[in-house]
Assembly symmetry: C2
Homo-oligomer: 414 residues x 2
Amino acid sequence: MNKLISLGQRAKEASYDLMNLSTTEKDKALIKMADKLLLHYENILKENKKDLENAIKKGTSKAMLDRLSLDKGRIEDMADGLKQVALLSDPVGEITSMWRRPNGLQIGKQRVPLGVIGIIYEARPNVTCDAAGLCLKTGNAVILRGGSEAINSNKAIVEALSEGIKEAGLPERSVQLVEDTSREVVTEMMKLNNYIDVLIPRGGAGLIQSVVKNATVPVIETGTGNCHVYVDDESDLEMARDIVINAKTSRPSVCNAEEKLLVHEKIANKFLPVIISALKNENVEVRGDERTMKIVDNINEATEEDWGKEYNDYIISVKIVSSIDEAIVHINKYGTGHSEAIVTNNYENSQKFLQRIDAAAVYVNASTRFTDGYEFGFGAEIGISTQKLHARGPMGLNELTTTKYIIYGNGQIR
Amino acid sequence: MNKLISLGQRAKEASYDLMNLSTTEKDKALIKMADKLLLHYENILKENKKDLENAIKKGTSKAMLDRLSLDKGRIEDMADGLKQVALLSDPVGEITSMWRRPNGLQIGKQRVPLGVIGIIYEARPNVTCDAAGLCLKTGNAVILRGGSEAINSNKAIVEALSEGIKEAGLPERSVQLVEDTSREVVTEMMKLNNYIDVLIPRGGAGLIQSVVKNATVPVIETGTGNCHVYVDDESDLEMARDIVINAKTSRPSVCNAEEKLLVHEKIANKFLPVIISALKNENVEVRGDERTMKIVDNINEATEEDWGKEYNDYIISVKIVSSIDEAIVHINKYGTGHSEAIVTNNYENSQKFLQRIDAAAVYVNASTRFTDGYEFGFGAEIGISTQKLHARGPMGLNELTTTKYIIYGNGQIR
């Protein structure tokens, strides 16, 4: 039999066992998994070194090598992550509502595991451990398909985790790695509807779009963030400056970083010179629309292409708008529905922005950088969904569950 | 520009207006839509006659002609349906939870419309009206693509509805019909990710599978139901008989009808002759596994193919199992995750069945036929989801919404 199919079948079988486990059993396994990571850290580092050597041979960029590379500290972080997940409360089993119908049927809606989750991701080996921990905590079996660059590290990590899972008495197939790193196997995985319930791609826009386009298994789209900060005419300009600088520069490579600044025309003359100079001080390349270029010298022109682009870099494009309505239309047109912020002291405008912006997270007077499972208080994050089905915004443990209706009758027929 | 794309763009624009409407505005439009249906009933019947004549020429089956055909009463039912939707409470705007973070950020999760919903369906013209009403109530724009058999009826219905929408002052493009009935346009619609947020196919298994396989737009899979009733050894056999007969024969063509009967071996000798004779009295063809055929004469053999099949007809397959565990494994293996029932008086077994069966609706001592938006008390139904993402089981108004996070800050940066 095809290897991926048999892997899928085993995951499905494991998932039926996993859904019946108590929280205590799952938490014990998470702790064991953490212990085994630490116990086998030398082997993991040895295997990671192979990946690094191969990557260097291929002329991989420094940033990529950094993502790929592990050290003792990073393995400790992974183990700590598992222990923290063990401390989170388990969403599985919760009855979110229950009611009685006139005919006496008692209908409850109960959180249950999704079943088998497929994760398709790129170079970072820590995703292997994080995803395994979150899926196991929520009673899901997981099939991991990491990038070829990290295959040796991933194998060593899964081997360690599996030892912990086995010792805890859980099905060993709860966490499985696809060891075949060919492109064909990814394509096949995307169509494994009989065995995989949900696919979550994690990585660059190319990977995610390829999964969205080719998968027949339901997908949760994550990631792309062309985030805006709009500074309204009635606003605290000092607060606006802090928020823009934080949203743009605190970590430009992530999806909740600001990419665009919209400024109301009434305050443009006052605010733009200040903020653009501050951005330049932080080594941000500033691009502007025509009106912005008339106010501030020495900036590049923002083209039509810029408005729709996620830079993930020290670049920002600035546009002057005539009204909050223009800002809203612009954001809904060019945004990716991730995180959008207004800085304002006008009550009506704050409500309008919250109501009319079509995005996963809409902020008044705060940085877009808070769109994150930990910052939202979920204690975990498997990714940030930018689609509208199932989950929108940061996904914690709840988002790795589905529901089923449980119905108590006493002989009702229709 | 391509016609479907411009239709999609207009739907998207309409959706931004729709999401800001008050419930009162939407309800007024629903009432107007109902009025216009009644006002134009003669035209709708005239156009429906064209469809019927074409269908007869093509040699369409009687059952299909019945689905296609409208009369005054059916149009009144459609109008009543819209008025009932107007009476339901509006899920849009509800803050399902709100909390404050240590840094003072106040984070709320709010129900909002999905945006643009695409419905791909077959012959029944009433779906046109039902879907339009439910989508409008939840502030979504809808693109309807009905079957070619009903194109004239659908055009007339949408024309009437649009007149009502326009008079109520809502965007006319809130409800649009794809008038091109070619297969190519469906394929194109399935990939219109920029303009359609969610696709809901409604119809036979062929249609639904084609959408699931080909769509890049997120899909909610509806419908297929290979439902089981398992009669446990400790059970009230009279209740079991009533439930089996009801689940199988009250409406065999629908997805929540029973297709399979599993019986514990301890009661097989007593129960099977009774139930099989009762089923035959209701003109049900009974197929049985080897053990069943040893107990009851004159039944056909159930093959491996039977266990996975949804008959939607007066046919049932019967299997004897040695334990509840065997029943659970069988159901999880062959079921479609729709509705599954146990008849038992054993407490532990009732809990085991509820816990271990992986389906949208799991029943103890009640007919599977209750899996329905109205029977669950939702007041409406757009379909029954058999997937695990977003919605599972009967979908009412809530399931036509998504959420967004609204965040109130006072200058927080990270």
